[in-house]
C-alpha cells in the first residue's frame, strides 16, 4: 500500500454572492492575488509536511482558467517540491498532453523534475478535462488522437536514442532529441487518471501503467471502474497488480466522528457547490459514444448533485470521522476496489491550514500504519469472492 497526499490547490475565497461556474467563464477579476499568493505557499507547506509524516508521495495536477485548482502548471509546483522534499515520490497527475505543442516539452520538463529530485517523479499523462478544451480552444474531437501521439513522442524521447524523427498526424518533429534524459530507467513510473472511459483503461492496461480513478462519484461507480480496469488487464493477458490502481478520495480525520463532521462539512460543501460547478462540461467528441453509453448510468451520482450529508456518507464521497471510523471505511473500500495506491485529498475547499494539518497528523499516526499492516506490499488486496469474474 502506498499513501499519497493529493492537493488541488483550490481558490478558497469565491465571494458569497457569486453563483456561477468555477470553470471557463468564472470571471478572473474575482481572483485576489494576495489570497492566491498566500494559498500557494500554504498548500506547498502542507505537501512538504506530509513527507515528515511518513507519506509515500505527494500529488498535484493541471487545470486551467478555474477556481477549483490553481495549478495551470503543475510542473512549476513539482520543481519546487523536488528541492524542498528529500524522499517522497512527486506525482504530477498529470500533464494534459494535447495542451502542449509540441509535447516534447513534457518530456523535457518531466525529465528536469526527475533529475532535480533524484528520480522521484511519477509521470502522469492526462487527456485534459472537458473545460480545458473550451479554455484553450483545443479541438476535443482530436483529444484522444493527440494524446496517443504525444504519449508516443514522450516515451520515444525517453527511451530511444536521438536525434530521431517523428512524423505523426498531429505532430511532425524532424529532430526529436531531448536533453535532459530522465534518471529513472527506462522511464519514470506512469500514471493515467480516468473517469471511467473504456479507451483510457484499455490504453493503461496495454502499456502496464497505473490507472487512477477520478473521484466525486458514488463508491459503486468506482467499483465498476476498477472492475473494468482489471478486465482490461486480463484482456491484455495478465493479472493486474494492485500497484497499478489508485483510488482518489477526500479524507478528513478528527478526534471523534461528531467533531469531524462539524469541522469539515461546510468546507466540503464549498468545494461541491462552489468549485465543482462547470467541471462536468463535456465537449463534443471528447468521449466516445461507446464510453458515454456506459458512463451515463453513473453521471447522476456525480457529487455536484449531492444535497445532504447522509448522501455523502452513504455514497462514500468523502471518508470523514474519527481515526477508527476512517480506518474501518478505508479498509472496507480498499478491499473492495483493490487499489494499491490511496490518494487522499486532505485539503478540500476552504478547509483551513490548522485543520488540514491536524487531519494529516491523525491519519499518519492512527490510520496509515494499520492500513500498511492490513494490505502488505505485493499481496492481493481484493477480499475473496469479489475478484473480477
Amino acid at each position: 500500500m502506498r499513501f499519497f497526499n493529493f492537493h488541488l490547490m483550490p481558490y478558497p475565497s469565491l465571494p458569497d454572492d457569486y453563483d456561477g461556474p468555477a470553470w471557463v467563464t468564472c470571471p478572473n477579476e474575482l481572483y485576489d492575488p494576495a489570497v492566491g499568493g498566500q494559498a500557494y505557499n500554504r498548500y506547498l507547506d502542507e505537501l512538504i509536511y506530509s513527507e515528515e509524516l511518513g507519506f509515500d508521495g505527494v500529488c498535484i495536477n493541471e487545470h486551467h482558467q478555474n477556481a477549483y485548482g490553481l495549478m495551470p502548471s503543475p510542473n512549476l509546483m513539482a520543481s519546487i517540491l523536488a528541492r524542498q522534499t528529500k524522499r517522497v515520490k512527486i506525482a504530477v497527475v498529470g500533464n494534459a498532453l494535447p495542451l502542449y505543442d509540441p509535447p516534447t516539452r513534457v518530456a523535457e520538463e518531466f525529465a528536469m523534475i526527475d533529475n532535480i529530485s533524484g528520480g522521484r517523479l511519477i509521470a502522469g499523462f492526462v487527456v485534459g478535462g472537458g473545460p480545458e478544451y473550451y479554455s484553450f480552444s483545443i479541438n476535443p474531437a482530436f483529444a484522444r488522437e493527440k494524446f496517443a501521439e504525444a504519449h508516443e513522442i514522450i516515451i520515444k524521447a525517453w527511451t530511444e536514442p536521438g536525434p530521431q524523427e517523428y512524423i505523426g498526424k498531429h505532430y511532425k518533429l524532424r529532430f526529436l532529441n531531448t536533453w535532459p534524459r530522465p534518471v529513472q530507467q527506462p522511464h519514470p513510473e506512469v500514471w493515467i487518471p480516468g473517469a471511467g472511459s473504456l479507451e483510457t483503461m484499455e490504453f493503461v492496461a496495454k502499456h502496464h501503467y497505473a490507472y487512477m480513478g477520478i473521484p466525486y462519484f458514488h463508491i459503486d461507480v468506482f467499483d465498476r471502474t476498477f472492475r473494468l480496469f482489471r478486465e482490461a488487464c486480463e484482456k491484455e493477458g495478465y493479472e493486474y497488480d494492485p500497484i497499478q490502481a489508485g483510488w482518489l478520495t477526500p479524507i478528513y480525520v478528527a478526534e471523534t466522528d461528531e467533531e469531524a463532521r462539524k469541522q469539515y462539512e461546510d468546507h466540503f460543501w464549498y468545494f461541491v457547490r462552489r468549485l465543482l460547478p462547470g467541471i462536468n462540461i463535456s465537449p463534443p467528441g471528447y468521449t466516445t459514444l461507446r464510453s458515454m453509453k456506459g458512463m451515463l448510468k453513473g453521471i447522476g451520482t456525480f457529487a455536484i448533485n449531492l444535497k445532504t450529508w447522509d448522501e455523502v456518507v452513504d455514497g462514500h464521497y468523502a471518508i470523514v470521522g474519527s481515526p477508527s471510523t476512517v480506518l474501518e471505511k478505508l479498509e472496507a473500500n480498499l478491499g473492495r476496489l483493490g487499489t494499491g495506491n490511496l490518494l487522499g485529498l486532505f485539503q478540500l475547499g476552504t478547509l483551513p491550514e490548522d485543520l488540514t494539518k491536524r487531519s494529516l497528523e491523525l491519519f499518519a499516526r492512527e490510520v496509515m500504519p494499520k492500513l500498511r499492516e492490513r494490505f502488505p506490499d505485493g499481496k492481493p488486496m481484493l477480499r475473496s469472492g469479489e475478484r473480477a469474474a
Binding site: 479541438n139 474531437a141 462540461i281 463534443p284 447522476g300 455536484i304
Partner: protein
C-alpha cells in the same frame, strides 16, 4: 408532396446516409450542425420540382467516415466524390448554416461543380461585433431560443424537454441513449469542422468574389444564432448575389417554415436559366 427515400450510399469515406427523391434538375441540400434530415418535409416540398439529394455529412446520423474528415477541406473533397458517384455534374446546391458554409467553400474552390448557390443563414465568416453565438457549450433550452421563433414547434419542445431531463440528476440515468445519440454524433462531427476557428474560415471572405454562379442568400429575420451582418456580407461579396429576408422565423428555417423556404427557393431557381 413527392416521396423521399433513404439509403446508405458508398463513398470515399464509407457509407453515408443519403435521402433522395423527386424529378427535375438536381438540387443538393447540405444540412446544418444539428444534422437535420429525418422527417424534413422541406425535402418533399422541393422534390415536387427537383431531383433532391440530401446526404448526411460523414459522422452525422448513420453516415460512416466521420474519423476521416478533419476539416472543411476534407468535407468538400468528400462532396466532390459524392457528386461524381451520383453523376451530378453541377447541381443546384443549398446549404443551411454549417451546410451553407460548406456550400460556399465548394463554390469558391470548384465553381464548375454547381450551377446555383443558395446560402440559408450561412455560417463561415467571422465578423467583429457580430459573432456567431456558441453552439458547443450551451444548454438545449438556450439553443432552442436561437433556433426556433415558435417555441411550440415540436423540435423546440423536444429541446426544452431534454433540458429539463438534463438538469434532473435522478432522471439522467434513465435517459434512453438512443434519444441523445444523434445530437452527440452531430456535435462531435460538427466540432471536427468548426471548433477552432469557430464556425468560420478566416480566408473565406476574400475568396467570395470568385463565386461566379447565380447566388441567393436567405436570411431568417429572427435568427439570433447568426447575426444579420453575415447574410449581408455574403450577399455583398458574392458578385450578383440576391438577398431575401423571411420574417418571423429563426435559424432552423427549413425545419420551422419548410413551405415558405421552398417557395423562396423555387422562385429563385425559376428566375435562373437552368442548363439544358
Amino acid at each position: 408532396m413527392a416521396d423521399i427515400t433513404t439509403e446508405l450510399f458508398e463513398t470515399n469515406v464509407g457509407k453515408v446516409q443519403l435521402r433522395s427523391g423527386g424529378t427535375g434538375d438536381p438540387l443538393v441540400y447540405l444540412h446544418s450542425a444539428g444534422g437535420e434530415g429525418q422527417d424534413l418535409t422541406f425535402l418533399n416540398d422541393l422534390a415536387d420540382n427537383f431531383s433532391v439529394y440530401a446526404p448526411m455529412s460523414p459522422g452525422f446520423a448513420d453516415s460512416e467516415g466521420g474519423d476521416q474528415i478533419d476539416d472543411m477541406e476534407d468535407a468538400v473533397f468528400h462532396l466532390l466524390d459524392l457528386f461524381d458517384r451520383l453523376d451530378l455534374d453541377a447541381p443546384n446546391v443549398l446549404g443551411l448554416s454549417l451546410g451553407g458554409w460548406m456550400a460556399a467553400e465548394l463554390a469558391t474552390r470548384y465553381p464548375d461543380r454547381l450551377s446555383t448557390l443558395i446560402l440559408v443563414n450561412p455560417a463561415g465568416l467571422y465578423l467583429e461585433g457580430a459573432e456567431i453565438k456558441d453552439i458547443f457549450g450551451r444548454s438545449p433550452a438556450e439553443m432552442a431560443v436561437d433556433l426556433f421563433a415558435d417555441k411550440s414547434h415540436p423540435m423546440a419542445q423536444m429541446m426544452l424537454a431534454m433540458d429539463r431531463t438534463m438538469s434532473d440528476a435522478s432522471a439522467l440515468k434513465d435517459i434512453p441513449f438512443e434519444l441523445i445519440e444523434p445530437t452527440l454524433k452531430s456535435m462531435a462531427a460538427a466540432a471536427r469542422l468548426a471548433w477552432n476557428p469557430y464556425l468560420h474560415n478566416p480566408k473565406l471572405r476574400k475568396r467570395l468574389p470568385r463565386i461566379k454562379v447565380p447566388t441567393l442568400v436567405v436570411r431568417a429575420e429572427r435568427d439570433t444564432l447568426i447575426p444579420e451582418p453575415h447574410s449581408q456580407t455574403y450577399a455583398a461579396e458574392i458578385p450578383g448575389a440576391k438577398l431575401v429576408k423571411v420574417p418571423d422565423v429563426a435559424h432552423m428555417i427549413s425545419v420551422e417554415r419548410p413551405a415558405e423556404l421552398s417557395a423562396v427557393v423555387s422562385a429563385f431557381l425559376a428566375s435562373v436559366p437552368q442548363p439544358a
